[in-house]
């Protein structure tokens, strides 16, 4: 019976771990993109979210082939495009080859009378036809004449020309050797559109792998040696970011585990004890992931990456436990004296991180949940499970040997007191004088992407003449026809703005698929054959065109008049069809048309025209929306941190019941945070949200140190136990600094931010605790 009583925590722990493993084994790692989208968005933010998740932009993959003469690059581009077109994973593969555009041209030519917005009854009167014939005659004499002369007999009213003019402002990449290239021919370019949405990272990964596989097969053979393919685009980024952060998380957990284990081995001199001491950390991390997975359905890569930072803090608890084992004090009693202080430390951490649950920013909320659950489980395992796993007789030798030396060092520490005050004052001045922006102002700064990748993306976009879409008009409605009709009305407004040179062009699904109503109006504008013949005859008086030249025109008009309207099916198999489908999407609550604007020169005029006219027509400034989204995250995080800090102060008052003691505990932490902040800013860093999280974490870690110093300086007696506590703080601090310091080198911006901040903050917290609070301990010893 007694045996059972002693072992029940282990049983509970094992069942709990088993449960966590079960949850974690079904884990869904979500796209990091989503970690940065708000939980309760405004309608503009919701549209932004949709665009980023599965809009046109999110499905784009840009490819550059480099490292050889232009002919080789072009041959590779053609072969690669040929292979990729057979893959259903890609909706569209475009490399500028002529063949791919033939069907588009045919569609535009065949359906010009239904597609051209210039088709009105006036256009087909004798006067209207005369105007366009004169225009055509002039074109015929120009260098463009050769290109247009074939269609003249079919199109004397010039509809094709009008349609083509609608594409104005759509920059085309350079064409060399029959494919798209950069201007200097050093890079062949392809644009792919994936069938799967951008948020479906597994599908995106599959698409990226297919592209790489086909490229590798294409360039087999010596003549293609040295050719390289570079990929970019939102999907590619998501895939790389996931791989990257998982890779970093894995690599750095191993490195950190080895280094921290080495340190602990030095202290414990026992492999078994080392293994046991890592149990709280492992349990905590597992429980944290399980909790997030259950609470949110998906776990973001960032949260996972953050998990490794937990090693640094959670291992502290087992360090406190093992360093307090000494001859005559069995494991079950080891934590007896210091338990209240540890408990207060954990509560402090919970106070600091709990407000994060409230964050509208899912990445932050997950992080909060992860930390709190992870640390609570780690401390519970330390308190209830570890004592049951350690031999009654075990006690590490090193802490006892180190104790006196540590105390001696602490004895010298208070001499540094003036230096700390000077440093804090200097740091405050330096922060106050800081003139550069404190916060990084772009949502993209949250993405775990290197600067190099961002530059590659920019250079591919420049080569393709495909700048980032900034302004987008989103037109909503219940039915497709309704949305198309509304898009046409918006198009009329945009045409007016274009003639005022407020924008250079725009795209709209109704350019390729006009509403049925509009198509019928255009059909009705076409005169019947006899009338048309007489009008044209009148228009041709005195013009040099041959008499029988325009027979094809009469035939085609007669056919169009009775043709049924074009549908999406007629567009199948053309690039225009894909374009239309990407601009016209069906959602749960209806249809939406996207009208990307090009070359906007006057933002205000656009906002004035579309700012707030209609609930169904929304102007989306993608840059503004994402910037304001990021701003709101920063503000939210700052507020939540302030609430966290205040609740820590309240908690300390309740526990310590003395203003002086609360001040003593907070002073070293405050000093550490201020100096860390000053150093980061002076180093030229723009702060990320995660620096703030890092500061919160360093307060959480540091509060353990200062609480222990507080406990010791207020203890009635100073015995060996107190000395051991100081040793345990030192060991814990070294392990924390190692873990977070390593993370500072990870190269993933968000993890680097946390790593640098906590490593510095935690180290300074212990140092300042010793300097500011160490005096009492040593003097009274």
């Amino acid at each position: 019976m007694k045996r059972f009583k002693v072992r029940w925590p282990i049983a509970v722990w094992l069942i709990f771990i088993g449960f966590c493993v079960l949850v974690v084994s079904r884990i869904q790692v979500g796209a990091d993109l989503n970690a940065f989208l708000p939980g309760t968005p405004t309608s503009a933010q919701r549209l932004l979210t949709e665009q980023l998740r599965d809009g046109i932009v999110s499905r784009l993959i840009l490819i550059g082939i480099e490292g050889g003469p232009t002919e080789k690059l072009a041959a590779t581009s053609k072969q690669l495009a040929y292979r990729l077109r057979k893959e259903p994973a890609f909706m569209m593969v475009n490399n500028g080859e002529k063949g791919t555009l033939d069907r588009d041209q045919a569609f535009l030519v065949d359906n010009r009378y239904l597609l051209s917005s210039a088709v009105t009854p006036e256009r087909f009167t004798a006067g209207g036809l005369r105007d366009s014939l004169e225009n055509i005659l002039q074109m015929l004499g120009s260098p463009a004449g050769t290109m247009i002369k074939q269609v003249i007999p079919r199109d004397p009213s010039g509809e094709l020309l009008h349609i083509v003019e609608g594409f104005a402002g759509q920059a085309q990449p350079a064409l060399q050797e029959g494919v798209w290239t950069s201007d200097d021919g050093s890079r062949a370019l392809l644009i792919l559109q994936t069938s799967a949405a951008g948020y479906d990272i597994d599908a995106q990964q599959h698409a990226v792998e297919l592209a790489r596989k086909h490229f590798a097969e294409t360039i087999q053979g010596a003549e293609f040696a040295g050719l390289k393919m570079r990929l970019s685009g939102p999907g590619v980024f998501s895939v790389e970011a996931r791989d990257n952060i998982e890779g970093v998380a894995f690599k750095f957990s191993i490195i950190t585990a080895i280094l921290v284990s080495g340190l602990l081995l030095l202290v414990y001199r026992s492999w078994r004890v080392l293994a046991i001491s890592l149990l709280p950390v492992a349990s905590g991390a597992l429980a944290g992931i399980a909790a997030v997975s259950m609470g949110y359905g998906v776990v973001f890569g960032v949260t996972l990456g953050f998990g490794i930072t937990l090693i640094g803090e959670a291992v502290d608890y087992s360090i406190y436990f093992f360093t307090h084992l000494s001859p005559g004090r069995p494991p079950s009693k080891a934590l007896k004296n210091i338990w209240p202080t540890i408990r207060l430390g954990v509560l402090t951490t919970i106070c600091g991180f709990s407000p994060m649950f409230l964050a509208d920013f899912p990445g932050l909320a997950q992080l909060g949940l992860f930390s709190v659950i992870g640390l609570v489980v780690a401390v519970l395992v330390t308190r209830w499970v570890l004592p049951n796993l350690v031999s009654e007789k075990f006690s590490p030798v090193a802490p006892g040997l180190l104790a006196d030396r540590v105390i001696a060092v602490i004895g010298y520490a208070p001499r540094l007191r003036p230096l700390v005050y000077v440093a804090v004052v200097a740091a405050v001045i330096s922060i106050a004088m800081h003139r550069e922006p404190v916060w990084s102002d772009q949502l993209s700064s949250l993405f775990p992407l290197s600067v190099e990748k961002q530059q590659l993306d920019q250079s591919l976009r420049d080569d393709l003449g495909a700048p980032d879409v900034r302004f987008l008009i989103v037109v909503g409605g219940k039915y497709r026809e309704e949305v198309l009709e509304r898009s046409e009305a918006v198009g009329v407004q945009l045409d007016k703005l274009m003639s005022r040179k407020i924008l250079t062009g725009y795209d709209t699904p109704s350019r390729y698929l006009p509403s049925v109503k509009t198509q019928q109006i255009r059909q009705a504008a076409l005169p019947e054959e006899r009338q048309l013949r007489s009008n044209l005859k009148q228009a041709l008086t005195g013009m040099p065109f041959r008499d029988d030249l325009f027979e094809p025109f009469f035939r085609e008009i007669a056919a169009v008049r009775v043709q049924s309207p074009i549908t999406l099916d007629d567009l199948k198999g053309t690039n225009l069809g894909l374009q239309t489908e990407s601009l016209l999407a069906h959602y749960d609550d209806g249809w939406r048309a996207m009208l990307p604007l090009r070359g906007v020169t006057d933002k205000q005029a656009i906002q004035h025209a579309f700012g707030s006219q209609d609930a169904m027509v929304t102007l989306l400034d993608l840059k503004n929306e994402s910037d304001s989204l990021y701003d709101s995250y920063v503000h939210e995080a700052v507020w939540l941190s302030i609430i966290g800090a205040l609740s820590i102060i309240v908690l300390l008052f309740i526990s310590l019941r003395s203003a002086r003691r609360v001040a003593d505990v907070l002073l070293p932490l405050g000093a550490a945070v201020i100096i860390t902040l000053a150093v980061l800013l002076a180093g030229g860093q723009e702060l990320l949200l995660f620096h703030l999280v890092g500061m919160l974490l360093s307060v959480a870690v540091g509060s353990n140190y200062s609480l222990f110093f507080d406990r010791e300086s207020n203890a009635a007696t100073h015995d060996q136990d107190g000395k051991l506590t100081m040793v345990s703080l030192l060991v814990a601090n070294i392990s924390t600094t190692i873990a977070f310091g390593m993370l500072g080198f990870s190269g993933v911006p968000v993890l680097t931010a946390i790593g640098q901040t906590v490593a510095m903050g935690a180290f300074l917290s212990l140092l300042f605790s010793a300097v500011l609070m160490g005096g009492k301990i040593v003097n009274e010893t």
Binding site: L140, G141, T146, M147, P544, F545
Partner: protein, 189 residues
């Protein structure tokens, strides 16, 4: 001032394979001209028209890449070519059209046949055409055959004839039988 067309005589006998050196020499001579002004008369024959279109006006060339064509008859119109940019403007309604040459490879190839010849830029000519030459310095004729099949669908052959560093005629044979002839007279005013 009178328009004196110099129309070379075509015969199989005088057609001989000239060494590239003579083309080089011609190009070298042409490259010496940094600035020139000329009047032109252009006749374009289209099968769809009952009569040829006749245009007349002035040409201005500034080395290396700028070519201006001001048509006065039948309607004022201008075409300016500067580097990659082709600006077309018709005088009566002021409507302007700017085209980037690399978006229209066929037009690009066509305008280079004139511009690169004026500039003596054999390298660019060779990029678009198979270049051959007949005659000698005092009376030469360049024959340009488009390399790009897409271009060949439109233009079959371009013949540029001249004397010394002067271009006298430019003849364009289009696919389907349409053709044009531009006669150029140097204007020293």
């Amino acid at each position: 001032m009178s328009v004196v067309p110099v129309i070379p005589v075509y015969s199989a006998e005088i057609e001989q394979q000239v060494t590239p050196w003579t083309v080089r020499e011609l190009m070298h001579n042409l490259a010496q001209v940094k600035h020139s002004k000329a009047t032109f008369v252009e006749r374009k024959h289209f099968s769809m028209l009952k009569e040829p279109l006749v245009f007349a006006g002035t040409l201005l060339y500034t080395a290396p890449g700028k070519l201006e064509k001001y048509t006065l008859v039948p309607k004022p119109e201008s075409i300016l070519l500067d580097q990659d940019k082709l600006t077309m403007q018709s005088g009566d309604n002021g409507k302007q059209r700017v085209v980037s040459l690399r978006e229209y490879p066929a037009i690009w190839a066509f305008v280079e046949s004139i511009r690169s010849t004026l500039a003596g830029d054999l390298e660019t000519l060779n990029r678009f055409y198979k270049v051959s030459m007949e005659g000698r310095g005092g009376k030469w004729r360049l024959i340009l055959l488009p390399l790009d099949p897409k271009m060949r669908d439109m233009v079959v052959e371009i013949r540029i004839a001249g004397s010394n560093e002067q271009i006298n005629t430019i003849e364009v044979m289009e696919a389907g039988g349409d053709h044009s002839m531009m006669e150029i007279t140097k204007d020293d005013s």
